[in-house]
């Protein structure tokens, strides 16, 4: 399709100034569209601020791989332009295997990544210990993915939006959107912003504006320490993560720690469904830190300076919703990124604007189209 030629104020109104909305705005602006971003609070203040900022290539499905790989390559293309406060660092990921069973998973992952052109390296127990001296002894090994990286997501979102603004995009912040319609966006002050296409990029809040889409809130806790340079050198993720994070019904925690460029250690992760209250839950936090201490006993000696929570936007098949919303001509979705939104923001922006401008995409878009869920619902 091409954008409808209308008398609307903007070609595109993007609701939600998280990293996904900001990335979409940048891609839209550099593709020549007039765009406005509406953010009720601050840029990158929602799930963006509650993400670790781990730019990671995932292997749990072909579609997940394709989007994360494409997105990571887009991050690498802009890496040298990112301002210092985005704290981009290609520290790599180590998937940590605790036992022989998880080491078999390491070997499976090695093959998966190598077959698809991603550089990886198997670490035996000694190599793992040498790479990360603060891991406990007795771990079996790991898989190093050197191309993975880390960013500070709120500043990345701000940078994306600044780039969009330098190309003419506008920002309306501090005002909430109360309704989406074919005419555009209705704001809490009763004014209307008219736009040819509206994009719902409000993460875990997206069903409030577009009822019926299958996006659930999934709560997470994070904790950050004072500065201990060198304590952790790579993003470390336990392989048990795959089992626990995929459990849809129950709360889970996983060992997932990250070195920040500042020397701080960012500690995750927890996942909870059905909790709408953002308060910090001592029991969940305690479980999460206990899990971290099982892998890195010395972590208990570090001083924590802040802990917080956020809500990821989870979909049933773990893939985001990127494209036209079923039943609406001019409403598009860019939501449902769950724990991978920082990584996949860059790819999402390309795939969304490709659809709006009828451009071909670098990867097949079908797995991310909102209509896939819709069709399943019809045929169920």
């Amino acid at each position: 399709m091409t954008l409808p030629m209308t008398s609307k104020a903007f070609d595109l109104a993007i609701v939600g100034g998280g990293i996904v909305g900001a990335a979409c705005a940048w891609e839209a602006a550099r593709s020549g569209l007039s765009v406005v971003v509406i953010e009720r609070s601050v840029i990158g203040g929602g799930a963006t601020a509650a993400g670790m900022g781990h730019i990671v290539v995932m292997d749990d499905s072909e579609a997940q791989f394709a989007l994360t790989r494409y997105s990571q390559q887009l991050w690498q293309e802009i890496a040298s332009d990112l301002p210092d406060d985005v704290e981009y660092e290609e520290c790599g990921t180590i998937w940590v295997a605790a036992d022989e069973e998880e080491m078999i998973e390491v070997q499976r992952k090695e093959v998966f990544y190598q077959e698809r052109g991603v550089a990886v390296e198997i670490l035996d127990a000694a190599a793992l210990r040498q790479s990360e001296p603060n891991l406990r002894s007795g771990l079996r090994g790991g898989l190093l993915v050197p191309g993975d990286s880390v960013v500070y997501p709120p500043c990345a979102a701000r940078y994306f939006l600044e780039q969009a603004q330098s190309l003419g995009a506008q920002l309306r912040s501090g005002v909430a959107v109360v309704a989406l319609s074919n005419d555009g966006v209705k704001l809490s002050d009763n004014s209307l912003i008219s736009a040819g296409i509206t994009v719902n990029a409000t993460g875990s809040w997206s069903p409030l504006l577009t009822p019926g889409i299958d996006v659930q809130k999934r709560k997470g806790h994070l904790l950050i320490t004072d500065r201990y340079p060198g304590f952790v050198r790579h993003q470390l993720v336990e392989l048990g993560y795959l089992k626990s994070a995929h459990s849809i019904s129950s709360d889970s925690v996983a060992f997932n720690v990250q070195p920040r460029k500042t020397g701080q250690v960012l500690i995750g992760s927890s996942r909870q469904y059905g909790v709408g209250d953002p308060k910090i839950e001592a029991a969940m936090l305690s479980r999460m830190l206990s899990r971290a201490a099982e892998y890195m006993p010395g972590i208990t000696q570090l001083s924590a300076i802040r802990t917080w929570t956020g809500f990821r936007a989870a979909t049933p098949d773990k893939l985001p919703l990127v494209g036209q919303c079923p039943g609406y001509d001019r409403l598009y979705l860019a939501t449902g990124h769950e724990g991978l939104g920082i990584t996949t923001s860059t790819g999402t922006a390309k795939l969304l604007i490709d659809q709006l401008l009828n451009r071909s995409s670098a990867i097949p878009i079908a797995p991310y189209l909102p209509s896939r869920v819709h069709q399943e619902a019809i045929h169920a």
């Binding site: 004072d226 500065r227 201990y228 500042t262 000696q301 570090l302 001083s303």
Partner: protein
């Protein structure tokens, strides 16, 4: 029993009355700063009661330790930011 303890501050021996805080020992050691801020400014104790975190030093290898809250022990190794 001696009523003093000896510890090292940045490698230099310092003798203080038993029961002194590490912050006291650092203060009399002549160290230029307890710590440096993120932007390199010298910092020293402000509150003296464990709230402001300005007096942090490294004690026996443990960084970010509040020196005003720790009593000097014989043989303690204290490092400050120069």
């Amino acid at each position: 029993m001696p009523d003093t303890v000896m510890l090292t501050i940045n490698g230099h021996p310092v003798i203080v009355p038993d029961g002194s805080s590490v912050a006291t020992a650092v203060a009399i050691s002549g160290a230029m700063a307890f710590r440096r801020s993120v932007h390199g400014e010298p910092r020293a104790p402000l509150c003296g009661m464990g709230i402001c975190f300005e007096c942090r030093v490294t004690i026996n290898g443990q960084s970010h330790t509040r020196s005003c809250q720790i009593v000097c022990q014989n043989g303690m190794d204290v490092q400050t930011d120069e």
